[in-house]
Symmetry: C2
Subunit: 218 residues, 2 copies
């Protein structure tokens, strides 16, 4: 069965085609047939061999994206050439400038309207993500770049406020004032991580992720 | 039909008996039969004439509580004898010391584990509640007791952080550090509302509302 000699390569091709189409026309406007047409040489059966439906494709994209980010984050944890504060800024740089990451988040962000997905994400931002940030903050406290008395709380707030309150802002014009508030508040806690560059990058990243919603709402 | 001559009085008696039992043994451990036994002279039919089930009783208690609070809040808006900042503190005082309010919230807080209820509350805290707080903050900016450049954002953060992040803290020992962070952060935004008295009162209120959950989790 020559066609299935490289199942991992086929899976990868399906994901890449789907990501291209999702980015171009949005998840809702893309069908499995569109993905087949984009690939040209694959049967419907071959797609369904890898993914049971369109949602499973988006889930795989989200998981691959998260694994890549998680790998980058863990390598960052081991670096000794930059401070803890700079590591957090590197994380923001990576999250707000990587086009594939922004495209994947643009599609998955739409599911935050579903209460179960929102509750799951709120939990994830305040535990898994915040735990990683707390480790970096503790490195920053050690190296003197961060001075907070509340490394745990600052980590949860950093993650919750940026991912939920800023990231899920109701309209584009609310992103910058929210970010400036978070910058001031985190600095007051001893975590002066959001400088002008970070604010600018985050406005860009949040705008890219929420483009369909922001355009729709005005 | 003498029994139904005062339907509003009967409704009120049912709610008061239910509230007493919910406070004593918890919502989950109270049955409609317990409420009947507590009242002594009412038929099952008479209860079901007013409330289709136990949930409807809790909903009515929550709504009555909210109406009373909303009335108090709107009267506060019209007061001219205290500053905007003091009005926010009066609101915290009322919310954290009124035993009936705390008991009602203790029962309804348990439903925040349900994603749909959580999503509904998140929306409500950031719109209806925050809009009222924003009006008070703008009064405070006018009278000089509050200096924030971000009245809208400060209002949403005040409501979201206190109601959700502090109010829904995972364990009792996380309430005070979270509150101290919120106090520092809001002060940095020009809203120095959480002084030591407010912190003490809020620790009490959050502890009362979450008593079943906090005891269960250690």
């Amino acid at each position: 069965m020559a066609r299935n000699a490289h199942p991992e390569a086929t899976r990868r091709r399906i994901l890449e085609a789907a990501q291209r189409l999702f980015a171009e026309r949005g998840y809702a406007n893309t069908t499995i047939q569109d993905i087949l047409d984009e690939l040209g040489d694959l049967s419907k059966g071959a797609i369904y061999h890898h993914f049971s439906n369109k949602e499973a494709i988006l889930e795989a994209l989200t998981e691959d994206d998260w694994n890549a980010h998680w790998k980058m984050a863990n390598e960052m944890l081991d670096r000794t050439d930059i401070t803890g504060l700079e590591k957090l800024r590197e994380l923001i740089r990576a999250s707000t400038t990587d086009d594939a990451h922004l495209a994947t988040n643009r599609e998955s962000a739409q599911f935050l309207e579903d209460p179960t997905t929102l509750a799951h994400n709120l939990e994830w931002w305040q535990t898994t993500i915040a735990e990683w940030i707390e480790r970096i903050i503790r490195q920053g406290v050690e190296d003197g770049s961060i001075t907070t008395e509340y490394p745990h709380e600052a980590a949860v707030l950093f993650s919750l406020l940026l991912n939920y309150w800023v990231g899920d802002a109701p309209s584009a014009d609310q992103v910058e004032p929210r970010l400036r508030c978070v910058a001031t508040m985190l600095a007051a806690l001893g975590l002066p991580v959001l400088d002008e560059e970070m604010i600018r990058l985050t406005i860009h990243g949040v705008g890219e992720i929420n483009r369909p919603r922001f355009e729709q709402h005005g």
